[in-house]
């Protein structure tokens, strides 16, 4: 099932100040989600999820909305940052400057056998680059 046992990714109460961050992904594709008041949602490691299917990368719309590291598609589509390496430079820079916080971003690449639902297909030339990454296979 999708829903974590704390039932906060799909919110069940009116605590609107709680933000989500993915801090760990295991080899089965189970993500650990941390929750905190949005001003305190700072963790040493943040995972950004990408799906790969048939040699193309996809970004899940659900996470674009829900995670605190939101608006990844603003960077990839609108500012045309077509590599995760450059994206992480940008995110790290923003985290340092805006939150006075240093953390590590990790790309979790989930390789799929079927095309994912409700995802944005990234450009043909989108690459991962030289970043810390974890690969998960369906």
């Amino acid at each position: 099932m999708l829903q974590d046992k704390n039932e906060k990714v799909i919110r069940q109460d009116d605590n609107i100040d709680i933000s989500c961050t993915i801090t760990e992904v295991n080899s089965q594709g189970k993500a650990k989600v941390e929750y905190a008041y949005f001003k305190k949602a700072l963790y040493p490691i943040s995972h950004i999820i990408f799906y790969e299917y048939n040699n193309r990368y996809y970004y899940p719309n659900a996470l674009e909305f829900r995670l605190i590291d939101n608006n990844i598609l603003y960077l990839t589509e609108e500012l045309e940052i077509n590599s995760v390496e450059k994206m992480f430079q940008m995110l790290t820079s923003s985290m340092n400057k805006e939150e006075q916080w240093s953390n590590e971003f990790v790309a979790a690449i989930v390789h799929l056998k079927t095309k994912p639902r409700f995802c944005h297909k990234l450009s043909q030339d989108f690459t991962i680059g030289n970043v810390k990454r974890e690969d998960i296979y369906e």
Binding site: P60, F65, N70, E80, L112, H120
Partner: protein, 248 residues
């Protein structure tokens, strides 16, 4: 506390997907997303009055405005950002993006333009009304949830079949007294496309013109780069403010 990424990719239900999206309202804009609290009308930015006046000038007098005129206010707002960026210790990272950021703001062939009634947040979602929600324009019709709704063209980016009564109850339950702060009546009402001579041609329909002139007195008008943003779900998060051309 485990969240199944394979389920999210392949087996997520329509209801789960819509609820995740509607769970995303909070007061934190994220790195690259603005909430409504960040927006105030600035003197010189495009207004409904200016847009409608320019549209009638175009219709009756064939008068159009140049890109330079449409983006004068946008340029003005970018200048202090340049100065702040130079103060960054990591300016080199910003330098990489600076040109793209300016291009995104200033050089699209076509802008889409939306109005947001910022003081009219609702206590409950209504069918066939569009709302600005966390940088997206969403709409419920009978049995469907639409993401990226475009009132001007009556199109949308994504349509999800869902029990809309249940979704309306759901948003009421999770936002409670804060509901009205997150769902603001809004619509994409116009576009401006530039020709080879860099003159902007405004497109509106009778319906979108009517929607524009009946918007609440306290509204803001924002733009989005249609060339690169029309196919992404959150396209109104970092708005582009055009000049109040009809009022110049």
């Amino acid at each position: 506390m485990k969240f199944d990424l394979l389920h999210l990719a392949n087996q997520i239900t329509n209801e789960e997907y819509v609820k995740i999206i509607l769970s995303s309202g909070d007061y934190y804009p994220g790195f690259y997303r603005f909430t409504m609290g960040d927006r105030n009308f600035e003197d010189g930015q495009l207004s409904i009055k200016g847009l409608v006046r320019a549209y009638f000038e175009q219709m009756s007098l064939d008068k159009t405005y140049s890109r330079k005129e449409w983006t004068a206010f946008t340029h003005k707002r970018l200048t202090p950002q340049d100065e702040r960026s130079k103060e960054r210790t990591d300016f080199s990272v910003y330098e990489l993006l600076e040109d793209k950021y300016k291009q995104w703001q200033l050089t699209p062939k076509e802008y889409d333009i939306a109005v947001i009634d910022i003081d009219c947040g609702v206590q409950e979602l209504q069918l066939d009304q569009t709302y600005f929600f966390m940088g997206s324009l969403i709409r419920l019709t009978h049995g469907k949830f639409l993401i990226g709704y475009d009132y001007l063209r009556d199109t949308w980016l994504e349509e999800i079949s869902v029990d809309t009564d249940a979704i309306i109850s759901y948003t009421k339950s999770i936002y409670a007294t804060n509901h009205k702060e997150f769902f603001l009546p809004a619509d994409l009402i116009a576009s401006v496309a530039f020709n080879d001579q860099e003159q902007g041609n405004i497109t509106m329909t009778d319906d979108s013109l009517s929607r524009a002139v009946t918007s609440d007195a306290n509204n803001i008008v924002i733009a989005s780069n249609r060339d690169v943003s029309s196919n992404i779900p959150i396209r109104w998060a970092k708005d582009i403010l055009l000049s109040d051309i009809g009022q110049q």
